[in-house]
Subunit: 261 residues, 2 copies
DNA sequence: AACACTGTTGCGTTTTCCGCAACACTCATT
DNA sequence: AATGAGTGTTGCGGAAAACGCAACAGTGTT
């Protein structure tokens, strides 16, 4: 089941397919790989020996099965310097903008604030006033809550300080309520902001994970509350989650671990 | 300048060396790679075509030069899930980050270099994303010295080669001095790096042992020298050691054997 | 317009790799 | 113990694939 195009260097193609298989399956033995690739055991054995010598694959000390090795991690570290979140997220954000018709944002954490690094404006005349580079508090925005939902309580306290500033009547200013809210974010996979920063502004945001499994950014859809009702907003959830997952994957977050909620 | 051992599949080795070069240099052209590898242009051209078709390398849209591609990032994501020391170390690293307030790293050995597989940013929040996967030399980093301190001199020479590259005035470039330094690491149980790789960067690292008693990883705390003074650093030693011991125990290393320095 | 580069093709040869075995080894089962 | 079905790792020879050599098509520079 090996796919080699004309002009390819066969053994290199095989090597890459081996890595792909190992990436999907986790760990495999020589025989298992040879049957999947329809290649003789000996070929696979020699191929793996070469890859192992270079650290591209490694064998589990107990099971002796082969898996992806540490060299790939360092190569990816170098590759990541060539790729930034904004570039790899552009297409997914555009699709999300088409699907919802509302303003789409990409935000990252900067200290104790959330900062927008990408924004696609809504097609409607009335749209929110976020812009690239705008900073907002963490505890009263959908993107903010999505970004910090996976932090420990201690880190959260350190970031936010003791007092949670009130912006609207809906702002969550009590720590127990905030922790409960964040637990809910973790549970369902996305955060909702209902006029907690500005009256009339609602949003839904999902976290983007990077290579190491940490939250790198958050994708959000936002709009005015008179148009984006609660039911419309929750209808956007699956699109926002899909976009966030797609971006996470392009950053190296393994698809298998993505919680489809 | 190509290193191929007996029994290797040549083209695969070449492909990996191409990736290594691209990882170090960032972006290179066909001719540049061919001179570095002492291989004909045509060979490199075909090799890169194969790698590009699989997404392992990609070319810059403007310069047309080649760099590492997105496929490596997704492979690395899968590779990271295999390294179980990451999972079992997370909580201990978080505690260490709280105790010290500085950047905490977890690193493993990859050939003749040390590669970071986990990183918790300092409380003095300085954003440097993409550190996971960063490679550094062994002889001038705290984690590197902690990782190789228990190797024999022969193994060490084989890993590092004859020449020890200088990065700063503090870099240890003489073999006798390095061996003495590693003996000191073994004696006290942790390693210190004082601006030996980058001016202004200091670190303290301790080895993590696995079930069999081998060094599996290294935990480190690092920070800028203006904030992390020598006395502050040595004050962190007991916390780093405690974290390293805790992780070792979670990997099955018997607590009794842990040398408490 | 000539030059110095780049990177990408046919082509023929030789090198390299693949498949076939037989082998060493572990672990259940008889 | 001895057999059996599994692993994965070797020599060996033939066959095929990759390499180096060119010549080629583009660039931008002198």
């Amino acid at each position: 089941m090996i796919q080699i195009e004309a002009g390819d260097i066969r053994s290199v193609s095989k090597a890459i397919q081996v890595l792909r298989l190992l990436g999907d399956a986790g760990e495999l033995g020589v025989t298992e790989l040879s049957t999947r690739l329809r290649v003789h055991k000996s070929t696979v054995s020699r191929l793996l020996a070469t890859l192992e010598r270079h650290g591209v694959v490694s064998r589990h000390p107990v099971t002796e099965k082969f898996g992806l090795g540490p060299a790939l991690i360092s190569l990816a570290g170098a590759a990541l310097t060539r790729i930034d979140v904004r570039a790899s997220s552009r297409e997914h954000l555009e699709r999300l903008a088409e699907q919802t018709g509302e303003t789409v944002n990409l935000a990252i954490l900067d200290g104790d604030q959330v900062v927008n690094i990408e924004k696609l404006p809504s097609a409607h005349y009335i749209r929110d006033i976020g812009w690239i580079g705008r900073r907002s508090p963490l505890h009263c925005t959908a993107t903010g809550k999505a970004l910090v939902a996976h932090l420990s309580v201690a880190e959260l306290r350190r970031l936010l300080g003791a007092r949670l500033k009130r912006f609207t009547p809906q702002t969550i200013c009590a720590w127990p309520l905030l922790e409960e809210e964040l637990a809910e974010v973790r549970r369902r996979g996305y955060a909702i902001g209902q006029e907690e920063l500005e009256p009339g502004l609602v949003a839904l945001a999902a976290p983007v994970y990077e290579l190491g499994g940490r939250v790198e950014a958050a994708v959000s859809v936002s709009g005015p509350s008179f148009r984006v009702t609660a039911s419309a907003l929750s209808g956007y959830a699956k699109h926002v989650l899909a976009a966030a997952h797609a971006i996470s994957r392009s950053l190296g977050y393994p698809a298998a671990q993505v919680k489809v909620g």
